[in-house]
Assembly symmetry: C2
Homo-oligomer: 270 residues x 2
Amino acid sequence: MVKEVITSTKNNRVKTLVKLRQKKLLREKLGQFLIEGYKELSEALKSGVKVIELYHCPTFFRDDSYIALLEDAEAKGANVVEVTEDVFKKISHREGPDGLLGIGETWTLKLEDLKLSKNPVIMIVERMEKPGNLGNVIRSAEAAGADALIVSEPMVDVFNPNVVRASLGMVFSLPIAVSDNESVLKFLEENKITAFAATPHAESIYWDADMSGPAAILVGTEKGGLSDFWMKRDSVQRIKIPLEGKQGDSLNASVASALMLYEALRQRKG
Amino acid sequence: MVKEVITSTKNNRVKTLVKLRQKKLLREKLGQFLIEGYKELSEALKSGVKVIELYHCPTFFRDDSYIALLEDAEAKGANVVEVTEDVFKKISHREGPDGLLGIGETWTLKLEDLKLSKNPVIMIVERMEKPGNLGNVIRSAEAAGADALIVSEPMVDVFNPNVVRASLGMVFSLPIAVSDNESVLKFLEENKITAFAATPHAESIYWDADMSGPAAILVGTEKGGLSDFWMKRDSVQRIKIPLEGKQGDSLNASVASALMLYEALRQRKG
């Protein structure tokens, strides 16, 4: 099955792989991004993401399912390339790599492409900066069965390798769109979706809000919260998560998102 | 205020600081542990943790509140020691250090020392391995107003610097005990606390469980879940968090903990 082996860390393709990890502009220019690890690549293949190339180093494989994944990827059109241990360590961005690193083809992330259910729940993050946080929120939103996640006023690239990783590959199965506040507001209005803004300054607790109809849950940055665009808008309902501890002054973004998404789910199913 | 300055990375105390970061056995032997960062040190001082020494490098300070913290620590008995930039980089375990690193005195973490409210909620983690996960669960439990957190069959040291950090210093305000399964079970029985075990294999959803009385929420490792000690015990109620996504196969431990702790809170307050 294997047709070529890269043995030099100075190989040009190795250099491109390192740049694809670091440079958002190159990812956009080439329309390509990195997918590292068995779990993430399985999710990508399952979700129909086009895997263009698959670099692998069998020394690191953990069991035979890795071989099956290579075969599956090749059958779906991936160019499979073996590399030496040194080369793999150079292209990997993990501690404890598992010997699989793919190049995937990016796709468009447009609001107008989102397909919503009859009674949708949408997660919206505004100006989120940390890739790990975004990945974690994606994971929570996918688990809670959200229809989609919208990244408004993006500060981080959805195809950043740390987003892919923190989401455990859920970035491939959850529909995601990237947009700006004005367009997101218009989208919510057109789809008759009520926006709920999470803020410590609200009077209502999230479990007292009626999220049984079409609902969008908005969270901002850990430091500054949501912008006035959402906070000062009459059509937006402000809700808070009570902090009951002696010192507690905030919750992690993915925890806060999960609490509100699961409350919406409870109100629908409970 | 400042009496001494360490300028050499080869200073013996610098070596001890590095060892305190890495070695659990040394932390136990000396009864000392590291507290790095303004936020974490403020929480420690506020919660009455004894800060024995406070190493600092003013070049990294972000504002004047750092000076106030030094003064507060010194007034409470800390030996304040200035170090050079190079030395601080050597003793710090963060990217982007803020110039404050203290040595705190550990305290005992005994089950019998926990003081419970009349209708307590307790978080129990079994065999948790990753310090970051434990710290995040501590942060969630503190925010949800849990009475205490119990680490059963410990695999990670509560005084590990990554636990302190991921908890954002909440490790200082939330009462914590470390014990073994047999003693924890006895403690729950004596205090008439119902145990709820989180597992994907349960039939009841967590929001359908009655957590309005004295309740303990148990989570296991991300990989293996809870052990049979809890899973096969008749007195333990098994509950699950529904996973509604197309691919979702688990939730992060701190997210799962927060969902169940906030459900207990909702049932008490809602």
